[in-house]
């Protein structure tokens, strides 16, 4: 075989003109497939909006902003951290969803870690599915606007406590915000529940009374504050009387108990999500110990 000829042929072959669009076509194909790929991995039911979906699994390394946010959290003791496990996004004309599923890492108690992460995924999957159903519904009816975003934030991270906040923010005409917390005892590797902090169930009464008096004070000192309290609400409305046994709460960095209410739960929408820091003196008598709450 004449190598010269083969070289010539190779030269010709290598000189095949490369169109300028190649790069674009390749990148676009790779991107679109990420969207398709999402379905394969996430197996979320709503298959009808394939075109609008993307899945991004974000690690600390791939998100400089998030990595920075993590770096700013003072990490003492065990390396418990929370990352975005998955992100679901929908971006169509009037429909937007940005759902971030958190994942806790670094807990020694893997059962706890697993069950929390499972819960986070389930919550967000539900949120996503509801969004998709609502969107389909609205589209059938000729359109509308719908937005949902969810995410998380580490509210407390010190020697004993690791508390994660998860928020769900939905917009459909009016908006709604829901916030939930998980407070973890890093030393014992257990999830702290509200009842577990107290000797008995009297905490419901004690905390509620404290909150009501805080509400009244706020209303007195600030005209813009409105809470649904007895004497302040219309007759047909249900005033706020007491917290639920498993009311949303977390323990802040100062070791104070913080009780949180979703939007509309104790006041009109303009009040948004409200939080009350419960003075430790008010609950000192009924606390099991001062280990968490100081």
């Amino acid at each position: 075989m004449n190598n010269n000829r083969l070289d010539q042929l190779k030269q010709d072959y290598m000189n095949t003109p490369i169109p300028r669009e190649l790069d674009f076509v390749v990148r676009k194909a790779l991107q679109q497939n990420r969207k398709k790929d999402y379905f394969k991995k996430a197996r979320v039911a709503a298959a009808s909006v394939a075109a609008a979906l993307a899945l991004v699994t974000v690690g600390v390394n791939s998100s400089p902003v998030f990595a920075q946010a993590l770096a700013e959290v003072p990490v003492v003791g065990s390396m418990v951290k929370v990352l975005t496990f998955r992100q679901f996004t929908v971006n169509e004309d009037n429909f937007e969803a940005d759902i971030k599923v958190p994942e806790i890492q670094g807990l020694e108690n893997k059962d706890l870690e697993g069950s929390l992460n499972k819960k986070y995924l389930a919550e967000n999957k539900k949120l996503y599915e509801e969004f998709m159903a609502d969107m389909e519904d609205l589209k059938e009816k000729g359109g509308g606007h719908l937005g949902v975003s969810s995410g998380y934030e580490v509210v407390t991270d010190n020697d004993t406590i690791f508390a994660v906040e998860r928020y769900e923010f939905t917009v459909a005409g009016s908006s709604d915000t829901k916030i939930k917390y998980d407070t973890i005892d890093k030393k014992r590797q257990v999830l702290i529940t509200l009842p577990s902090l107290f000797k008995d169930e009297s905490y419901v009464e004690v905390i509620s009374d404290n909150i009501i008096s805080q509400m009244k004070e706020q209303i007195k000192s600030d005209e813009s504050k409105v809470y649904w309290l007895e004497g302040y609400v219309e007759e047909f409305e249900q005033p706020f009387e007491r917290i639920s046994k498993d009311q949303s709460f977390y323990i802040n960095a100062d070791g104070k108990l913080v009780i949180s209410f979703d939007k509309y739960e104790v006041g009109p929408g303009c009040m948004g999500v409200v939080e009350f820091v419960i003075p430790t003196e008010a609950i000192a008598d009924i606390l099991v110990s001062n280990e968490y709450i100081k």
């Binding site: 004449n2 390749v26 676009k28 194909a29 497939n33 990420r34 790929d37």
Partner: protein, 167 residues
């Protein structure tokens, strides 16, 4: 992670894959379509591929299959046209030896041409070529020799035709 590696590999080697696709269809738009379609196929079965070291052979294989499917659908019009071109051109007495040589390659049936391309132009091992083309190594070797022989014969023929200024 695999997805990212795959994307990087494709972006880096896109021109190789494009050239191979082009060698089948001989036009820009179709070659781009084949590259695009191949990426779709690859991504949807990426899970089955564990080792990034096999990206190259694996993706070549997908490109080859996609191109062949494409040609089947197109009823091989392109190849016929090529042959017509060769026949109508071979008689001119000129110095376009490179082009004749290239046409000699182009006029080879795809199963021979691809072996030449992968083995000599893309410098793949015979084993890898066999893998890509779904054939056993011996078949590939035999075809490679046949292809080389055909090329040489055609080249010789063309030269002779050239020399005698055959109309």
């Amino acid at each position: 992670m695999l997805e990212k590696q795959f994307a990087d590999h494709i972006i880096k080697n896109k021109e190789r894959y494009y050239r191979l696709a082009y060698s089948y269809v001989k036009n820009v738009d179709d070659a781009l379509d084949i590259v695009q379609e191949s990426i779709y196929k690859a991504m949807s079965s990426l899970d089955s591929l564990r080792n990034p070291a096999y990206f190259r052979t694996w993706f070549y294989r997908i490109v080859v299959h996609t191109a062949l499917d494409f040609l089947r659908q197109r009823n091989k019009t392109v190849l016929v046209e090529e042959e017509v071109l060769i026949n109508s051109n071979s008689g001119t007495c000129d110095t376009y030896q490179d082009i004749d040589l290239k046409r000699a390659l182009d006029s080879l049936p795809a199963k021979y041409r691809t072996i030449i391309i992968l083995r000599y132009f893309e410098d793949l091992k015979i084993d890898d070529v066999a893998e890509i083309l779904d054939e056993n190594v011996n078949t590939i070797k035999t075809r490679l020799y046949t292809a080389l022989r055909k090329l040489r014969i055609e080249m010789v023929d063309n030269n002779e035709i050239g020399r005698i200024c055959h109309e």
